[in-house]
Amino acid sequence: MKRVRSSVMSLLLLAFVSVSAFAQSRRVTGRVTVEGSSEPLVAASVSVVGTALGTYTDDQGRFTLNVPEGAATLRVRRIGYVQKTLAVPAGATEFNVALARDVLQLETQVITGAATTVSSANAATAITVISSEKLNRVPAQTIDYALQGKIPGATITQNSGAPGGGVEIQLRGVNSINAGFQPIYVIDGVIVDNSSLGNGLNVISQASRTNFSSTQDQTVNRAADINPNDIENIQVLKGPSATAIYGSRGTNGVIVITTKQGIPGRTTLDFTQRFGTARLSNKLLFRCFSSGAEVVAAGFDSTGFGAATNKCHDYMQEFYGEHPFNYQTIGSLRGASNNGTNYFISGLVQHDGGLVLNDFYNKQSLRINLGQKVGSRLNIRANTEVIHSLTQRGISGNDNTGINPIDNFSNTPSFNDLRQRPDGTYPRGLTVVNGANPFQDADLIKTPENVYRVLGSGSAIYNLVSRERQTLDLTLQGGLDTYIDHAKVISPATAYVEQVNALPGTLFNSDGNIVSGTLGVALQHRFIREAFTATTSAGLGQVRRNTDVVTTTGRGVFPGVTNVASATQTFSAETQGITKSRSYYVQEEFLTLGERLFLTAAVNSERNSNNGDATKFYAYPKFSASYRLPFLPPKTDELKFRVAFGRAGNAPTGGKFTFLTNLVEEGVTGFRASTVLGFPGIKPETASELEGGLDFTGFGGRARFSATQYRKQIDDLILSASVAPSTGFSSQTINGGQVVTHGTELELGMTPIQAGSFSWISNTTYSSYKGKVTQLPVPGFIPVSGSFGSRYGNGFVAQGQLLTVLQAVNGCKVAVTPGQACSSANRVLTFVGNSAPDYQMGFSNDFNVGPFRLSSLFDWRKGGLGVNLTNEYLVDFGLMADTARAREINDKFIAGTAAYVENTGFVKLRELTLGYELPAALTSGLFQGRAQNARIELSGRNLKTWTKYTGLDPEVSNFGNQPLGRFQDVTPYPPSRTFFLTINTTF
């Protein structure tokens, strides 16, 4: 390591000689405009091919550039436009060019390293780029919803319909069983936290029968805090072949977010106002009873029914029938001053109501991005965002107290009117043991979760050497991500559900403090020759993360009291952690053969305090090559072949130490060694990926096709192994095993029609993967994600099987007649299929007719099994509307069939937007000439679902985000369709 350090120092010493020298040159001026108009193109890059000379256009689209004497070639490009390369004859000093809009995203810069990018034309890996426009076409509560259906190779699944988020992203399949399993988010170079903290729902639902938070809290992952409107673009690095540079955080992919920056030109004020609402999009159908007598006649227990007669109530509609008034107010100011300052300031105020009274998600954010050019060599940038969100997600998911509304309704024959009486009181629930009434719970029980977050990043890029054919830049980058998550559950003793408790009245108080810091230094050297351009970069990075979550649960709380200290009985818990990592990297990129061959080699060496040996550095190399064919078939504009290999890691999140566990005897806390033996030699999981593919552009830029095939091998999985009980331990964390995943990703972009003011732009994506357990040094096991037993269905990790296989009882060793049960001894436990989809497709279409635009996005997931335990509630209590079907399910189940395992495939109309660009005259009139343009949109999200799945939504997970076995559907918060009217104006 000393050698690496001295190399970096040597490079730094070079910087003492700050050089600026050019050969004989002439001054070329010009203007860049948008093709088909005279609209100036601001901040377009103009560079001299084969040199390091370049500049950007000003607010009039003008530029001035020193160009070497003699003939030269200028390249003009800007994100969102198709680049042009044009010859400038010797002596010419004037140069004008018009760039066409890049509707198929043919041209963009993609990330290749910590401080390097390359044109997508030369990229050697399949990196998906999502523009701000594509991301924000339809309002979404959180960023991860907005990504659904847009990234080939990504499985993005929401956990429930509750407001405020809770979405899982898996890139290229499942990459871990016990370590991190979700991609990391990097915003403006800083890794931001996406953890999920418990909100305490379990203390009243008793889903896990403890006094603390549990994995069944229906939590929100904190990517929800990111404001999609601040984003310039998102780049999705899907596998180790692209993420090796992220070291032991790269296995699960990286979502790189660049926020908007100020751009030269006049200051623009962008204002967007959205109004909307939501509707229950699917509901369970309960059996209809009109009277207690009818209930008794149907064979139900008559206890408590009395002589009550009432109409048949549609509990789902009555309870989940709120029509919230939702809104988003977004404003941003963007510009730059003449003294080199640029700025982007934006604010958001958002409210999304739930389908249930008092459920909502509120978010406010303020972002200030500032850039300053100091002299000709130093660029400084500081980005800051302050976010607050307040969420009340109500009660959903598994419960053991009858507090879940759907659990309750499945027990309650529909003739009972459970709604609030005119006098303000609520009737007791009749058939639930504690008399719980969901309407009363929704009124009385509060579950507020307040999150305060600050994201800050800063960078300084200093140009140490600037010559005609070489540059050397020093980049210093740092950032901080800190949030406080304050969650409460207030369940007063006045709620019927509390009154059966020995100590009625429950309070839960959680304070989570998460702080992550990132620091990096990089040197980047570009060496340009006629024959090649070589880019060398090297640097180091540090990441530190501190966590501290303190929770207290109080039982026996007087109604109205919200101070947990006043509880009769309290239970406290705290979890803390510190993780430190350091990495060094060096990367060489080589562009040659007329910019047709692009070669990359890099290695990242990283240590992490969670590894057994915290001082040991693990190496993560990558190699890639791409080649653009010089001789092209007919109708072909570009044809590129690419291949890449990379290795990334997945640092352990625990398992290193043998902790002491506390036990209490006679009021004295004692400690003894945990039964989980620590593994001092624990090391990161390692993912090695080989990726190959081709990229085609043809028909004059009107068609684009990309195909990628990859093989990913994950070794040294972090597993739990049983140990001999005579050692005093029950298990130990170990490294071992192997998973091999093969996958395919296809993208097809077309402009089938582009005639006058009418255009049709179509994008289709396809992806599939299969991950198989090829080695497993421990006996097969059910992953810890949670399940309700093999009779219903659970994940199972076994050698030779798919990692995402679903195991369930499905068969009986002896013949059974309908209605006859298969004894436990005769039940056949087997693998019934794959919980992962066979394939996924996304269909996006934009139709532009003059000022009108119609956009749609369909998300198709073919296959994939899930366990519909919600049905079990309806079947068990006999209140499913389709009684014959309920009987059939029950008969199958007791006969040993996997009756609750269902196909979760679906097609969803994720997004639909109809937009109208107001005529300039009207805009001018409305805004007294101050507005540049104005737009009105009508949009909807999740408007329609086509599925054979019989539950509320095929995309649910009772245990929240989980690497495996997330398919448990237990009385979730129902899905909703949302509608928005958007007015956008730019001043």
Binding site: M9, F659, A724, P725
Partner: protein, 338 residues
Amino acid sequence: MKRYTTIALAVGALALGACKDNPVANPIDAPTVDALNGALTPTSLRQLVVGALAQDRTTWNDVQSAIEAGIFARDVYRIDASEPRYVTETLGGNPDPGSFAGGRGFAGYYTALRAENNLLNALASAGTSQFTQAQLTATMGFVRTMKAYEYWRLIELRDTVGVPIQSDVPTEVTDVRCREVITSYIIALLDSALTDFNTAGAATVLPVKLPTGFSAFGRDYNKVSNLILYARAWRGKVNFYRAINRKTPNAALIPSVIADLTTALGAGPGAVPASQFKFGVWYNFVAGGTENQPNTIADSKIGLNPLVGDSVQAGDTRASKIVPRATLAGNGISTSIT
């Protein structure tokens, strides 16, 4: 421009200076086993002793469907899933090298043994700034007595099948040793404990306060003088069973049995009357202090032979879950003790 160059260099050097940062992040969420050595204080010692004893009680509490009592010295006939005579038991779980049968009480006693072995290691490295040498030695004697007790319960569970003797190395799996070896090992542990007690001196008091169950017959077992009696009682009992072992009877042990038990029960002032012989140090399942539920059995029933019903203490939270049962049957065998 040189100014900026200097700034850039200073910042770069600052970043490189961060290389000095300690790469190790010590766990802060909970103490680790490693942290015990050389760091014992009176408080932490008490916590570790209570941890081992509480584990014992938890293990005992976890043995359901058994004829069980709260008295440490009572013989127990357990019929549960870890009974190795059931041929089906080996089919019930993953075979493991340490117990060819299942877990239950078996694993729990070894967890307690691990706690006690860790404690002995910690005591060996404890300095005398926090304790007197006599206190440390006395505590070692107490821990060895408890180890002897765990092994007795284990061999009582497995009988002629034998059990392993736990290694000090956490990952080391040792061979299964036969009953005779184990009982000899138990006696060796008790002899060693008695040596510790005698070295510490009868007047020494343990630097920790034991649970209230260590107060039978009006004796305070925090005092070494009484712990000597307790260890001798165990030695007498174990040697008695060695003496009458059907396979290898050893009548020569009987005089020492009589001597140990006579000493333990006492002949003069403070002697235990015959009517009290059936009592002794006991597990306290009565809620106290901040402990709300010393009995963790949620809804299972504990089968208790009426003959030992008198060992249930007043306020025992297990009481409502106890079903008097003179005959136990299951898995193909049954037993009646009336």
